[in-house]
Symmetry: C2
Subunit: 492 residues, 2 copies
């Protein structure tokens, strides 16, 4: 058996190395690639993705997985390797190459028209592409045959094991609680001075911030890109990007904290399972919980503002001479409805996701036609956010996800919020003096807790099991709602 495990793990590592290279190609494309390299890069990514698919679907790998499945009890980490890689392989095997190709083509064609449609606020220009993509995703779901409804198969790609029927009651609770909460929140708007905050100075500050929360810059780097992201080509190499604009200090700062949270997770993955499926991040929901925990639970807290305010005064002595931590806290926590998801505050954000989940499901079941999406969007925005959507640009054309074929992705953002709040409850229980630590800039105890309970666990347990083990609860909205109520209603 140990020979089988060794051989199986060598295959796993090769696939992971190629996936890491694919990650680096993506990073380079956003950060360092010259503009005219795009066509070559697309072909290189295609070649590598083809190789990963070839390795993943190789009959030898199937035989190894069968041998291990029939081998009786395996050590936890090996069992996790089998579970995670088996899941990836199953998806790869079930999808016909022709469908994968058709989807890649449809997505490739959709992207420029989505950009143009946004620019000209022209839904009809994007609609045929979305119709084609929805059709292909429906076929994908049918081929995969995972779960009870088409949406399950798509969701499962991003949050392995999650099912729509498991999410819906939690999302329903959340929706009710948020609408109730919004009626009780003071809508005072606070902002910082308009700057200027020189981007180079912001970048230095972000670097200091990353170092302060425990990100190892010798095993990573901070760059600037159009959209902030984190990419990990592999152990010892976890890269962060952010974005700095001269008239808005907080957007860059919170983006850095957000990506820093993702990066701390990647840097904390178990070394002894490096390059193995069991040693990777377990799901997008858990990944997002790590970014949100640092961005929101830490970064938008009163104690953190106490620590940060003097640092901001020092970095921008003219513009922020009079900044106190209460003003910083108020600016970081303004609650105000708006049509754009990525600009939403902590309270409104999940309502944007509820809206998308409802529309995506209806598209997949066929209950909603693509041409009716703008109307459905407007109706739900009125219901959920109390807003009149003025145009497609700030409505159904705002997100890139659909034109990339990423239906089923949105719920992972909300899962991240809920997991983050559940973990935060557990952290507070285990570290009673957390506020004092944060106000003093002592982030190590928090990081150490996350390392032990989340990061170092890799994928040994599925996300839902990991959540239950750490928090003692199934996924629920309660912690998140209590966190918001404590912060925005009780003013804790």
């Amino acid at each position: 058996m140990s020979d089988t495990v060794t051989t199986f793990r060598e295959r796993c590592r090769e696939i992971q190395r190629l996936a890491g290279v694919l990650g680096l190609l993506g990073w380079d494309q956003e950060v360092t690639m010259p503009p005219r390299g795009a066509a070559t890069r697309a072909r290189q990514r295609g070649a590598l993705a083809g190789l990963v698919h070839e390795r993943l679907t190789a009959p030898e790998l199937g035989a190894l997985l069968d041998d291990l499945a029939g081998a009786g009890a395996l050590p936890d980490d090996v069992a996790a390797d089998v579970r995670v890689l088996g899941h990836q392989r199953e998806r790869a095997v079930r999808l016909p190459a022709s469908l994968v190709r058709e989807l890649a083509e449809a997505v490739g064609l959709a992207q420029p028209d989505w950009v143009a449609a946004r620019e000209h606020d022209d839904w009809d220009r994007f609609a045929p592409h979305l119709a084609r993509i929805v059709d292909l995703k429906r076929r994908e779901a049918a081929e995969l045959g995972i779960g009870d409804e088409p949406y399950d198969a798509l969701l499962d790609e991003y949050e392995p094991g999650a099912r729509t029927a498991w999410l819906l009651p939690v999302f329903a609770d959340l929706r009710t609680a948020l609408v109730d909460l919004l009626g009780r929140i003071d809508a005072t708007v606070a902002t910082l001075p308009a700057g200027p905050y020189p981007p180079a100075r912001q970048e230095m500050l972000s670097r200091d911030l990353l170092a302060a929360i425990g990100y190892d810059l010798a095993a990573g780097r901070l760059d600037v890109s159009a959209h902030p992201f984190t990419e990990s080509p592999g152990p010892g190499d976890v890269r962060v990007t952010s974005r700095f604009v001269a008239d808005d200090l907080l957007s860059g700062l919170t983006a850095t904290l957000h990506e820093g949270g993702h990066a701390l997770y990647e840097q904390g993955l178990p070394e002894h399972l490096a390059e193995l499926p069991s040693g990777q991040a377990v799901s997008l929901g858990i990944h997002e919980s790590q970014s949100l925990l640092w961005e929101n639970h830490v970064g938008r807290s009163r104690p953190f503002c106490r620590w940060l305010a003097p640092r901001l005064r020092e970095a921008f002595p003219t513009v922020l001479a009079g900044l106190d931590h209460d003003a910083l806290y108020a600016a970081l926590n303004t609650v105000r409805p708006g049509p754009i998801r990525i600009e939403a505050d902590e309270v409104h954000y999940n309502l944007h996701i509820v809206l998308r989940l409802e529309i995506e499901r209806a598209l997949l079941t066929g209950d909603l036609a693509v041409r009716d999406v703008p109307v459905a969007w407007r109706d739900r925005a009125r219901d959920l956010l109390g807003l009149e959507i003025a145009d497609h640009r700030t409505g159904a054309l705002q997100d890139i996800h659909w034109c990339m074929g990423a239906l089923g992705y949105f719920p992972t953002y909300t899962l991240g919020k809920l997991y983050a709040a559940m973990l935060w409850s557990a952290v507070r229980r285990d570290l009673p003096d957390l506020d004092t630590l944060l106000a003093g800039g002592e982030f190590e105890p928090l990081l150490s807790w996350l390392r032990t309970h989340v990061h170092a666990r890799g994928s040994v347990l599925p996300a839902a099991d990991l959540c239950r083990e750490i928090t003692g609860h199934e996924l629920r909205a309660d912690d998140f709602v209590a966190y918001l109520a404590g912060k925005y209603v009780d003013g804790a």
Copy 2:
């Protein structure tokens, strides 16, 4: 047959794409990779190199090559694809995997000890590694069975088709002519003021210089690395690095021109043969001819100095206020013997290569033992350069090539010098007003000539044939010697 060609070329393109990704991994390692990413990167490169080897040695590819070989007359470019890829495949097939692995390990172990040996000037620390590497390279040559002597098989990796017996008479002519020439050259040393030349300002100047000679920055980029190099991940993406030190303006400037020459070659490769073997650079010798043509024949010429001097005065108005083009020319063309190859002037440089070629051949035939290399080095340096070598650091430990297993590489530097001079003769014949053009900063006619005669030819002809076709001559030292004599003796 056209189906066979299509299938064959698809295989070629896949291999080339993976090779391009390997190139990017190398670039990233030197320019952007965080220090702790090294181990992961080594494994990723190993995985990709393994895949390239797998594809190259696949029986299906062999069958396609056999079919094409038996197909009668093929179009020139397809015939070149067959020649170049067949050559790569032949090398890959003949080398046992165990030998490749042993070499990779030996090289991996040698590198840190070479660094330490240099630091402590301790030949004995490096000697056992070199002995092992020479032994393995001798086995490699025997397995490859290319040419008439072991050195042929190694040389052939870098300069396909070149043979030692073909080089030796040319190198002998060159050696005699250089020693004679050195007796007639005025050894006055000229330098520029010691600076400071702020590196950021030098980098801007280098960027302007690259744009001026025709390098497309939208299809490339300039970065800083420890050792300047050019890397081309693929069409539309050809990257240059340079190196800037505050007290030496000319080293960074000539490095940029040198790498710019390499990059212009890569950017000028035939688009219709992109990603095919016939569309790649033909040999290291021809590649080096392109860098040297821009660095030396252009960059160290009087007309170029006329164009450059006012730009340098403008870039460094304080330090270079009084700079005239004659002083710049003198500083760029000082002839002075020294022990270090990479610091050698145009006249001495090839004598460093003659020294290395003699020692490498003697090591491979067994006529020279590794322990006797330092003595052999000292004796030859006295003969060839008229220098007493004081230590190993400035003697046999100065180059990284041997510890990387790159025996047979050095002669390509000299081939580059000779090819560059032969091409320069041809350019001068075709562009009689070249000096006027260069003095006016009009580099386009020269680049256009190189595009047509060299770059756009790719690998359709082997290097020696390409040289014959363009210049009307076999490889010879005459043009190079005449160029040096005209410049350094006649003061043209």
